[in-house]
């Protein structure tokens, strides 16, 4: 697989967006594009052409899986996707993995190791 550079991150929690921004741009050095809603993310996705989606599962209006589906439709191709969820041992996590998600990371995540965690998943995919 090619090198992982551009990540599109969607989470409805601004604080978590901020933590993730520091984790992925300060601790690590990704080209990170963040959005508070799936709608905004999908509007920009064709321009951004991300290598990977990092999506919160539970969001109002448009859920993480919906954003994933929308992204595949917009890009016209499969896109590697990692989900984040605050629900541990959730049925949804199992469902997401079986339907092709690379990984489901449980919150709280460790910002110091988040970048390397994503790179490991990317490399093994």
């Amino acid at each position: 697989m090619t090198e992982l550079k551009t990540i599109l991150h969607v989470d409805d929690d601004e604080d978590i967006l901020e933590i993730a921004r520091m984790a992925l741009t300060l601790v690590d050095s990704f080209d990170l594009h963040q959005f508070k809603t799936g709608t905004e993310a999908l509007q920009a996705i064709e321009t951004i052409q991300p290598d990977l989606l990092l999506l919160d599962v539970m969001m109002p209006n448009m859920s993480g899986p919906d954003v994933w589906k929308g992204a595949v439709a917009k890009l016209g191709r499969d896109i590697p996707t990692i989900f984040m969820t605050a629900k541990a041992e959730d049925e949804m996590s199992v469902e997401l993995k079986t339907s092709g998600a690379l990984e489901v990371i449980t919150k709280p995540f460790d910002p110091i190791t988040l970048g390397s965690q994503i790179r490991t998943v990317w490399a093994s995919a």
């Binding site: 604080d15 300060l26 601790v27 605050a86 629900k87 541990a88 041992e89 919150k107 709280p108 910002p111």
Partner: protein, 562 residues
């Protein structure tokens, strides 16, 4: 000329009176004939008498004639009615006539149709061929009828093909012109089809009005044969649609069709005769149970019973939601708190002053503790709700203990404690969820390690208790004080004076252990002597039928992990 009835009678009575009077007078005159000359009044009276006689005669004759006419007419009508009645009887029922010997003399078409015989096969044969071998009532009935009585009742008779039919029967004795008993006439109505139709109608009415939805359709074409009222409501079709013989697939959207195909696949491809699946329909969650059946003609059909489980699912979902909402609501802010503290602690935002670093470390440690409590509460809640499903497999407890040693080695080293495995040579099989049991092992090992004096050992054993296996974790710690022994498995119980800053506890660990063991039909307990350590153990039923060596020699395999 029409005369009112009453006038006729008045005339008749009047003429009779007149006739009697004139007769009396005439007789008197005749008796006096010699003494007196003929009186003109005599002739007058005679004339009146004659008229009266004539009138009376006229009416009498007329009346007789009319009566005769009327009775001829009614006889004619009556004969017609009898003819009709006979015809109706013949059309409606099975009629046969037998002679004194019980031989059949004549039968109607209904009789032949009902029993499936030709006329030649019956005429001249004894009627008892209709009674089958097991039916002994034939002679009894003949006896009743031969005594001139009518026999009535229900009979089970046998057709030519051997099928039993239920009949309502009346058998009358028959007499010849001389009034001599000459046999019998039997009239029978077939009740079999009426009973069957009644039963079928009743069954259909039950099926039609069930709240569960019933669909009957062809195994190959999926063409609908039947859908009850509830079923038609789901498909939004009326009763006429059944005649269109539409395929099930035409009434499902692509997602539903895919689920449906997957559901019936084992019935079509495999040997399965019944399949049960929960699926999503656009009108809600449904549970579909499908049976493979043969109809009367032997054609294979599928019968699906669909139950709306939307409400049940909603209730289940609500229960789950409450747990997962708490989980989500607590873990989301914790993500930001812990994330922020970790970034600060790691110096991502720049160097911290020693005092600030101390504060951040403290906040970080406590947030970690808070998260552990949240996780434990959720685990416990899920366990007690039965929401944490146990994925039980047949496992060897020896493997469980080896893995437990490996995964807790780091923690043991931090506590300056070494873990010792005293395993067995032979397998110790149980049916258990190894991940959950590992949680129990980790809890017991970490508790033991926490309270052990530095440099001491924590031992893990497997013991044979007959029908159970015991897993025990022993330490050389201070033991459980007397006053704490009764409540040690309760939630948020921590033995006084054991709070450790280095290794904080949620106070829920042993409660979780107890619950997990309970869900494995096991028991958890401990032995403790003040100042001389404790042994926590749990007993699990042995897995019956698992391979086990006859000799169960215990072999001690001391192993240092750290």
């Amino acid at each position: 000329m029409k005369m009112p009835n009453w006038l006729k009678w008045v005339a008749l009575v009047a003429s009779n009176i007149a006739m009697s009077l004139s007769l009396t007078v005439s007789v008197a005159n005749v008796l006096n004939f010699g003494t007196r000359p003929a009186d003109p009044a005599f002739f007058g009276l005679f004339a009146v008498f004659g008229c009266a006689v004539a009138t009376t005669t006229y009416f009498i004759v007329r009346r007789i004639r009319r009566r005769a006419n009327a009775s001829a007419e009614s006889i004619l009508l009556r004969d017609l009615a009898i003819d009709l009645r006979d015809k109706a009887l013949t059309e409606h029922t099975m009629v046969n006539i037998t002679n004194l010997d019980g031989l059949i003399e004549s039968v109607n078409t209904n009789f032949l149709n009902g029993f499936g015989y030709s006329e030649d096969e019956l005429i001249g044969h004894r009627a008892n061929i209709l009674y089958g071998e097991r039916n002994r009532s034939f002679d009894g009935i003949r006896d009743v009828v031969s005594r001139g009585m009518v026999w009535q009742g229900q009979e089970d008779l046998v057709t030519k093909t051997g099928e039993t039919i239920r009949l309502q029967t009346t058998i009358l004795p028959r007499y010849d012109e001389m009034g001599v008993h000459s046999g019998s006439v039997s009239v029978r109505t077939d009740l079999t089809s009426a009973i069957a139709q009644g039963a079928e109608a009743a069954r259909n009415a039950i099926a039609e009005n069930l709240p569960d939805e019933i669909f009957v359709y062809d195994l190959k074409t999926f063409a609908f044969h039947y859908a009850n009222a509830a079923g038609r409501r789901r498909l939004s079709v009326d009763v006429d649609f059944l005649s269109e013989r539409k395929s099930v697939l035409e009434l499902l959207n692509p997602v539903e069709a895919a689920q449906f195909k997957a559901h019936i696949a084992p019935l079509i491809d495999g040997d399965a005769s019944v399949a049960r699946t929960e699926m999503r329909h656009r009108k809600g969650e449904i549970e579909v149970t499908t049976h493979k059946v043969h109809d009367i003609t032997g054609t294979e059909q599928l019968v699906s019973v669909v139950r709306d489980i939307t409400e049940r699912k909603r209730a289940e979902q609500m229960k789950l939601t409450s747990v997962s909402t708490v989980s989500h609501e607590l873990r989301t802010p914790l993500t930001s708190i812990r994330g922020a503290l970790r970034l600060l602690e790691a110096g991502v935002t720049g160097e911290l002053s020693p005092e600030a670093e101390k504060l951040v470390r403290m906040a970080n440690k406590n947030s970690e503790q808070l998260l552990a409590i949240v996780n434990d509460i959720l685990t416990l809640q899920k366990l007690s709700c039965g929401e944490l499903s146990m994925n039980k497999d047949i496992i060897d407890l020896r493997d469980l203990l080896s893995e437990a040693i490996e995964s807790n080695a780091l923690f043991a080293r931090e506590c300056d404690v070494h873990l010792v495995l005293r395993s067995r040579q032979t397998p110790a099989m149980v049916e258990a969820d190894s991940a959950r049991l590992m949680q129990v092992m980790s809890n017991l090992i970490s508790n033991a390690a926490k309270f052990s004096p530095p440099g001491s050992g924590v031992e893990l054993h497997i013991q044979d208790l007959g029908d159970k296996w015991r897993v025990a974790v022993s330490d050389e710690g201070p033991g459980i004080p007397e006053h704490a022994r009764d409540t040690i498995f309760n939630s948020f119980t921590q033995v006084e004076g054991t709070k450790s800053d280095k290794h904080p506890s949620t106070g829920l660990g042993l409660t979780i252990c107890k619950e997990v063991v309970r869900q494995h039909d096991g028991e958890i307990g401990f032995e403790s002597t003040d100042g001389r350590g404790s042994t926590f153990h749990f007993d699990l039923p042995k897995h019956v039928g698992s391979a086990e060596s006859v000799e169960s020699v215990e072999l001690e395999l001391p192993r240092l992990s750290a």
